[in-house]
Symmetry: C2
Subunit: 678 residues, 2 copies
């Protein structure tokens, strides 16, 4: 049987429709609310066989089949169903007892309406005596477990703001209001609190009249409301007269010796598969596994602010529809994605990933000082970018591929800070006052990049190398200048830390493949993003729920089910379901003689996870909308190839690059300026 | 009297010529060898007065005068002479006893000739039985003090290589030969050694026949010799239909609210002065102060490989003549520099700095999820780039200025690894075999960026902030999620270390200016480049000579004479002349009651120095020419402004950016591809 879709292609709309039909037909009497219909990626074992044949040139290797994972509420009960797409049959139907689906925007709108429509809420708002014309905005947030409520029911926190300018895009985060409400699964307002607004203040239920001196005019970002816009930036355009250098067929990209497949799902958003360079296998899968944004304000109910933006919200469902010339410059290829409506119809999400090229300055250069001859190449990068909006914040996620076989993964945080009210003149040690009465609480952004390596095969290892001074005084080091590298292969699953002071380098290697020149195993090294790990106390719910935040580098044995570092179900989770618990359970269940074997990661199919991020103690310069804060992680070959893989890149010439010389008194410019001044 | 030149302008050619005349006239009977005629920047005290008046709008503030610093050998004696350029008079004439000028390329060529012409050298080379047609190349290196010779005389180490291909740009570093010679000031070969070529081997004087199986063909980079060049990279051009966004008058640049002056000298190369944003003073001077490249091979004479690429070689004199469309893409403004010939003539160095703009993706974005309206701005950067060649290596030094008032300083290391011979099949723990018989020894690149701040004035402080968990269990932190920032102002001169685990942030602040909204001192934070510090033993010459390599961040009281972190004269220096010694001496000389006051750096005119770099244990992918290794340092406002300084950047539109949509089956492309295949 010929399959139309590659096994790693996301589900096509007709597949989504078919799966919805299958589910409907199995539950004819149920009230159905679809949340997810997504590809269940084939087991890796099957995929390896498929990819091996595919790359060996077979036209139609035995297809591992198309299976869909469905999240659906059947009359209120949350099910995870696996459907054989081709056969049109349910394979597994499991009720996820005590679990909650990711954020449901339809439900959230109902929560908002219920909250704002509640009589007690209305009374509290009236008591605040807000400024004339203020429109109250309710911002629903998922509930970060704090031990104060039963988590088996969905609870939504409703934070209050107001919009003052008469414009739909006015920045309401500039006017946080000091009340908060809890809304139950059944859309009932169960609690209303006043928020603390000065240090040490505890929650009480007496609303305080809104302090009108907090009204200010410096917090707008929308062009309609922020008029004094600089006119000095002249246009800069990228032209590619012969088109881009990449070729794309479906979800497969080939560019400058790289080949890979782009995937996309509701949760991780963009994923990359079967990444190869010059025909050699490098990575089976690259993806953002999870992210956690815990807030530092210790005062109740702020500890409930702690967002799993993948597990709770979904990087896929929140992906922006990228606009040509706005989000992307140059020759742009867009990838669309397909999600599902609550009634099971395929839902197109256009332009969720853009693919284009950028120039990145010098790739390599050498001038022979004897002849004066310079040889220069410029670095071209392939960019795969996706941008998500999660309420106030946006995140830009970018993979860059280099001609030198390097990969960089960049996260940019932008958007608007989450805010809280503060009394004028007050300060707290866990937040920055960014406008009158506006506190931007400290918080962390912790990302976990999942790196599933396949360096020349699937049996890989993780090594830790440090650079250490040779003993001195010692006859082998008479001048005290010697240093050596010390190399250790990690034998068992573990969480490990960075140390720039010892130049600790994490290398993914294949011990079965020795580089014939260097005599060392072929490998790729991680260029980490040095970051502070999770600050919450190890016994806190924050810590237990985001175990990946405890260490910068983790290595585990591959498992088809271990994709999400904080666990498969993060919404109101109780913790101990993440990467540390997987490791601990395996170690405990294999105590005794086979302990080491079952948790061994040496020369096995392994996964490496890198936790990084920022301790974001806001600056006023992050307000009212934050210039991108960049975090970058790299993967670079280390004794993998036989030389610089970018050695053969074309020499940089003016003939091709057509730069323009700017004279100090460029007549054309002077003319234009003179004209502009008239 | 009206001065033609701004006090910070580098010396103009007519000034250089005049100064040379003045020096000649004072030494009519001497044999003159000019090494340097450069601007002696005015004392900061005078410059502050000048700049204050200049920025207050005075047309011709009292000029602090033009003074030239001259390095000249008068009949073999090394002098430092200060000349009042306008008056044409010598102010100071000092003999620099026991000091040596930076590398003299004329002399180095004489060294090469003397070495290769030496009979014993010839005999040693003959005994090696090199391959037919091999051309022996002698590479002279400065001598890193190792205690084995008297350093009052200049000594040059001559390393041997051979060129096999019949091409002037063939890569001779691919064939290191295992002899080395020392050449004296008087051009005599004083010692010849055979180099060790396996672990533990010590130097002896029996040359070993060249192992012909080391001859290989995989180490060429020049396009004439490396023919299999990829043809897949299609052109990418930058067009700026209205020209660049910057305006340049002489050495003054204004761009997107930034103003600054570009300086250039033989030693530091590019320097930046009087850097302001939106009229507010930020930095008095930014410059690379020094760099040190010590090698890890402990075997004599390799410990003599330790290059001060600024102090010994000069980032200015080794600056490349940048080529339009090769080194720089877009609309490029070049700055020239003027050096001096050995006979005192002005020597033009064209295109040593390029100035242009690049697009850097998203600057900020927010989508209001309620309205679906996205507002996006793109980030434009101003780039100031210079590239230097120091024998085998090149360094790219780039300042990036952002519209959000951020500055980034990037160093890219590229070029060719310094190599040494190794026996086939051998390995050493302090080097990588990159080609048959070619060892690329481990080494470090340590850079020191000198940051002379002037944040809203010249009385600044350095603060250290860490993010620390609140006590738990504790009533103020009931859920264990609270964390606060702890802020300490550094009171006395010191060397300090990085700590990503505590999110240690170094902030330069002005304690006299409190941000009215945040209630905290205005400041800029350092985004450090996390790096291993110097590995050489503290008692080694390497350590004593490069004191800045001991700590990542230093803070000192400003002194007009403290520009170079390893001392003013690094060539064959004996050490203890650098930043640690300055601090120590001041502390010792002020022991007692006024100790703290004299070394106080709180609310004083201070300088902050950041040491960073790479422990470069070569990869084979760095061979035969190394793809750029990037190191980036940032400076970002932190509660300096009243909001995001890039808030007013124009909204990104397709109308201005003119991107091109790539269809999956773009007919034009398909046509071109079909054509290409015919």
């Amino acid at each position: 049987m010929a399959y139309r879709h590659h096994p790693l292609d996301p589900l096509a709309p007709e597949e989504i429709a078919k799966v919805a039909d299958v589910v409907r037909s199995t539950a004819p009497n149920e009230n159905l609310l679809f949340r997810v219909i997504t590809l269940a990626e084939p087991p890796k074992r099957d995929m390896i066989a498929y990819l091996d044949l595919e790359h060996a040139g077979y036209n139609e290797p035995a297809h591992p089949g198309r299976v869909a994972k469905v999240h659906v509420y059947l009359t209120g009960q949350f099910h995870e169903i696996l459907v054989d797409v081709t056969a049109g049959k349910v394979i597994v139907d499991e009720i996820l007892e005590g679990r909650h689906s990711h954020v449901d925007s339809v439900y959230m709108k109902q929560v908002e309406a219920a909250c704002i429509g509640d009589d007690r809420v209305q009374a509290q708002v009236r008591a605040l005596k807000l400024p004339e014309g203020a429109k109250v905005i309710v911002e629903p947030w998922t509930y970060a477990t704090d031990g104060m409520n039963d988590m088996s029911e969905r609870i939504t926190m409703c934070w209050f703001y107001m919009r003052l300018a008469d414009h739909a895009d006015a920045n309401y985060y500039a006017y946080p209001i000091d009340i908060v409400a809890e809304v139950s699964e059944e859309l009932k307002v169960t609690k209303i609190h006043r928020l603390p607004s000065s240090v040490g203040e505890t929650v009480n239920n007496d609303p305080k009249e809104y302090d009108h001196s907090k009204v200010h005019s410096s917090s707008e970002y929308h062009p309609d409301l922020q008029t004094d816009r600089r006119q000095t930036t002249r246009p800069l355009q990228v032209i590619q007269p012969e088109g881009p250098s990449f070729e794309i067929q479906g979800n497969s990209i080939s560019w400058e010796k790289w080949t890979m497949r782009v995937g996309f799902n509701y949760r991780e958003g963009m994923t990359l598969h079967d990444v190869r360079y010059d025909g050699r296998s490098l990575f089976y899968r690259l993806s953002l596994s999870e992210m956690f944004v815990p807030y530092a304000d210790p005062r109740s109910p702020y500890p409930r602010k702690g967002a799993f933006d993948l597990g709770n919200d979904g990087a896929g469902v929140n992906a922006n529809n990228l606009k040509l010339g706005c989000d992307c410059l140059g020759h742009i290829k867009y990838f669309d994605a397909w999600h599902v409506t609550s009634s099971g119809e395929p839902l197109k999400m256009p332009n969720v990933v853009c693919c284009h090229e950028v120039d990145d300055g010098i790739l390599w250069k050498h001038t022979n000082f004897r002849t004066g001859n310079a040889v220069v190449t410029r670095s071209r990068l392939l960019v795969l970018q996706t941008i998500i909006t999660v309420s106030n914040y946006e995140y830009v996620f970018i993979f860059y591929f280099g001609q030198d076989a390097s990969i960089h993964y960049e996260v940019r945080a932008t958007g608007i800070l989450s805010t809280a009210p503060i009394d004028l003149g007050d300060k707290v040690p866990y937040g920055t006052v960014v406008a009158p009465g506006v506190l931007a609480p400290y918080h962390q952004h912790l990302f976990c990049l999942r790196i599933d390596p396949a360096l020349d095969g699937h049996q890989n290892s993780l090594a830790v190398e440090e650079s250490v001074p040779m003993p001195f005084p010692h006859e082998s080091n008479p001048f005290g200048v010697g240093y050596v590298s010390e190399f250790k292969v990690v034998t068992n699953e573990a969480g490990l830390d960075l140390n720039h002071q010892t130049n600790r380098v994490f290398k993914i290697i294949n011990e079965n493949k020795i580089n014939p020149t260097t005599g060392t195993p072929v490998g790729f090294k991680l260029l980490p993003c040095y970051s502070q790990m999770l600050l919450a106390h190890p016994s806190s719910y924050h810590s237990k729920r985001s175990e990946f935040g405890a260490h910068a580098v983790w290595v585990t044995r591959y498992s088809d089910s271990e994709i999400f570092a904080a666990g498969a179900h993060t919404m109101q989770s109780l913790g101990e379901e993440g990467i540390a618990s997987w490791i601990k359970r395996r170690q405990q269940s294999h105590k005794g003689q086979d302990n080491l074997e079952k948790t061994s990661v040496r020369n096995e199919d392994i996964v490496v996870w890198h936790t990084f991020g920022s301790t974001h103690n806001p600056r006023i310069e992050d307000w009212p909308v934050m210039p991108c804060e960049k975090m970058v992680v790299g993967l670079k070959p280390v004794n993998f190839f036989d030389r610089n893989p970018g050695l053969d890149v074309g020499i940089s010439t003016q003939e091709r690059n057509k730069s323009v010389l700017v004279g100090e008194k460029d007549p054309e410019l002077v003319g234009k300026e003179a004209k502009a001044k008239l």
